[in-house]
Symmetry: C2
Subunit: 97 residues, 2 copies
DNA sequence: TCACCACTTTCCATGTCGGAAAGAGTGACC
DNA sequence: GGTCACTCTTTCCGACATGGAAAGTGGTGA
């Protein structure tokens, strides 16, 4: 088991973003609408949180036209995975792993 | 391993309060000053967070005069332990246990 | 061109947060 | 009794985060 350096990350910690990261951590990619439904927030709220994750360099947004419909898919970047893993490690440390 | 029902708790989730709960979860009691130093916040900030935990019924505040000094010790209540455990379970669920 | 879809952005009202500083309660000391 | 020190508490404040509603944007098809 590789030890990740525990590191608290406020961008990741906010509930909706923690959920987004948690979802993206176990898949290569997930569609915007799917994430929105899983997290249970509105379009605008998810869009704003995704923007923050994107600006932090944690999430990559990929827009594509699929089946003649605009589809946005999200994925964790390497930095995002690192930050998420480090934050989870910190949560475990705090909560007594 | 008893399964605690995962339940997100905003009162517990805030970083300083999560740390306080994490500390109190592994001891019977801890002094205010010790918690303050461990968490790394000022008196006023800790006082305010403790108040929130107290009002939620999660932390019990016990004031005593020890060695001719006022000493306040904190401890988790049963409700506090339940809420903390449930929140930790929810964090594990979100972050992929 | 117009309607539509899938987000984005703006606007706004509310809530939270921490720092600084004043306040309060208790015991010690003279 | 009065003053001081210690240990929190409370108040005041500005900064920032958050979500809902609604308007806006860009691409697509009729």
């Amino acid at each position: 088991m590789t030890a990740v350096e525990p590191r608290f990350d406020a961008v990741v910690h906010a509930p909706p973003r923690l959920q987004v990261c948690g979802l993206l951590a176990v898949v290569d990619t997930m569609e915007f609408a799917t994430v929105r439904d899983q997290v249970g927030v509105s379009d605008s709220v998810l869009s704003k949180h995704v923007k923050q994750l994107e600006e932090a360099g944690y999430v990559q947004v990929h827009k594509a036209t699929r089946a003649s419909r605009q589809r946005t898919s999200l994925s964790l970047t390497a930095a995002g995975r690192t930050a998420f893993d480090a934050h989870v490690a910190e949560l475990r440390r705090i909560t007594g792993g």
